[in-house]
Amino acid sequence: MEQRVRISRQNGKTNYDDGESTTSPRHRGVKRERPRWTKQQEHFAWKMVSPSIAFLVIIFAFPLVYLLVTSTHQFDLTKPWKNAWIGFNNYFAILGDGRFWHSLQLTAFYTTATVFLQVIIGLGLALALSKVEIGRGIVRTAVLFSMVLSPVVTGLTWRTLLLTPRFGLLDYIAVQLGIGSHSWLGDPQLALLSVIAMHTWQWTPFAFLVFFAALAALPQEPLEAAKIDGAGARQCFWFITLPLLRPSIVIVIVIRTMIALRAFAAIFSATGGGPGTATEILNLYTYRASFTALNIGYGAALATVLLLITTGISFLFLRIRVSRR
């Protein structure tokens, strides 16, 4: 079986030359002419992918080039007479832009905090509920809604129905718990925490569902063996359950980080990046610089930096995931 898998990897998904190139030493190193059939398959595969590639080149690669070109221009809709090619000056300007560094810090904090909270809460809930026999289907369905709800509706709902002082549901609960009524989205520090809470609410179900399924599929033998050897509940968790869950935890961290870095609509509709710049993560700063301040050239440079950071981190994380498996 192992060998067959290897062969099929070498030759696409066929094993028509089983026992030719790998088992018989005489044929090793002999350059075989590629059979017509392989060529036919390659043609077929190309035909299958070409529409998507053609499309992505036109609609993605071409605009990307346009973005890079724009980022080397002074292109300000409020001062059109100044438009000119200015080389890398936009990028130099970014380096000295305090607002950029502030938004970068916010992005780092926001991403780390939300992913961390999602993993901890998701894992905690999944562990606590893994032994419950009833209501599993209901829980799975109930937590699904926050993920498929339109982020705009989520953001606006938090802003109005849930967090408005006096009339919001969450504000009321906070008062009942003795925390008191606050301007949740009006106070700079609270606003950041509120936005983090919102994102955590939106996406903890993802972590929860992954861990919930992983726990249900966990092999029971190691746990039983450990119990027979006299391991306590805590030892069982740290030395058996957690290591077995590690692949799922890594997947959750990777996917959630990638999505958190793209977060926009929910924050935009909840706070718009404000008050001031209190919740202005890099996505929002880029948006505001381009479409509120209408400085397209500078916005393009910011977008390029954002693109590099996001894809860089994503690929780094994917590599970690692949090597850990």
Partner: protein
């Protein structure tokens, strides 16, 4: 011995109660905010602004009537439907064959092409907003269906290809081998042997593509004007004015949720798998 056993029983009982309470807490945390939107949409204005928040009220439909009559919501729902359905259809036509090729075949530049597709998937949408904005204006495609659909495809095609790959990879190779021995061409094999096997996967990909396009806000907010404005953009108009129109907002929010919630209830198990990129089988 007897006491010991009854003690164990009590502990088990308490544990069960605690777990049950936690279960209710989890369901409440994630369901109540969603239910609250729906409840608010039926509340008379006086019941929306009460302290404490109330669930006792006489349900009315005024907010729906107001939302549908005055603020162009009907047109935006139609726009959203046209854009989301067309985008989903084209996405599937392009992504399903590509997913099959990446999952099953070896061909020149395969690694580079799949890397490129992954890259398009990872790029934050906002980074391409400026080029899209300028190019659509230059091509006179700003605020048109075709422009918006094309832009939404950039979000959905890479994602759908990756999802379809995971579904095709799950199928046994014997399927194609059998078809090959019977003399079927690759294309015949794809259409008649493979497609029926991944029908469920195609459905999930389609559903998630529809939801993503239906909910999309960033591109729609900048690249549409009055003519093809979608619902997520239109809903903003209730809250940007000085007057807070919570009722009509909640009514529109509920209307945005309805198609998504119906779909989720029908296909929840499959959707969980799709949402987690096959991390859950």
């Amino acid at each position: 011995m007897l006491i010991e056993q009854s003690k164990i029983k009590t502990i088990k009982y308490i544990r069960f109660i605690v777990a049950l309470l936690l279960l209710l807490l989890v369901i409440g945390t994630w369901l109540i905010p969603v239910g609250w939107i729906a409840a608010t949409s039926f509340k008379p204005r006086t019941s929306i602004f009460t302290v404490p928040p109330t669930l006792v009220f006489k349900p009315i439909l005024n907010h729906y009537a107001r939302a549908l009559r005055f603020l162009g919501i009907v047109a935006s729902i139609r726009n959203s439907l046209v854009i989301a359905l067309t985008t989903t259809l084209i996405t599937l036509l392009v992504a399903v064959p590509a997913g099959y090729a990446y999952a099953r075949f070896r061909f020149k530049f395969r690694e580079q092409l799949s890397f490129f597709t992954l890259f398009t998937q990872m790029a934050p949408p906002i980074s391409l907003l400026i080029p899209f904005f300028v190019i659509l204006h230059k091509l006179k495609m700003f605020d048109t269906y075709i422009g918006m659909i094309t832009i939404h495809l950039t979000l959905l095609i890479p994602f759908s290809i990756w999802l379809m790959i995971t579904y095709f990879q799950d199928l046994p190779h014997e399927l194609e081998e059998a078809a090959l021995i019977d003399g079927a061409s690759p294309f015949t094999t794809f259409i008649y042997v493979m497609l029926p096997q991944v029908a469920g996967g195609i459905a999930v990909t389609g559903i998630l593509a529809f939801i993503a396009s239906w909910n999309e806000f960033l591109y729609a907010s900048i690249l549409t004007g009055r003519k093809v404005q979608t619902v997520p953009v239109a809903i903003f108009s209730f809250l940007t004015t000085e007057e807070t129109l919570w009722g009509p907002f909640a009514a529109t929010g509920t209307m945005i949720m309805i198609p998504v919630i119906i779909v989720v209830l029908i296909a929840q198990r499959h959707i969980i798998r799709g949402l987690t990129f096959g991390a859950i089988k």
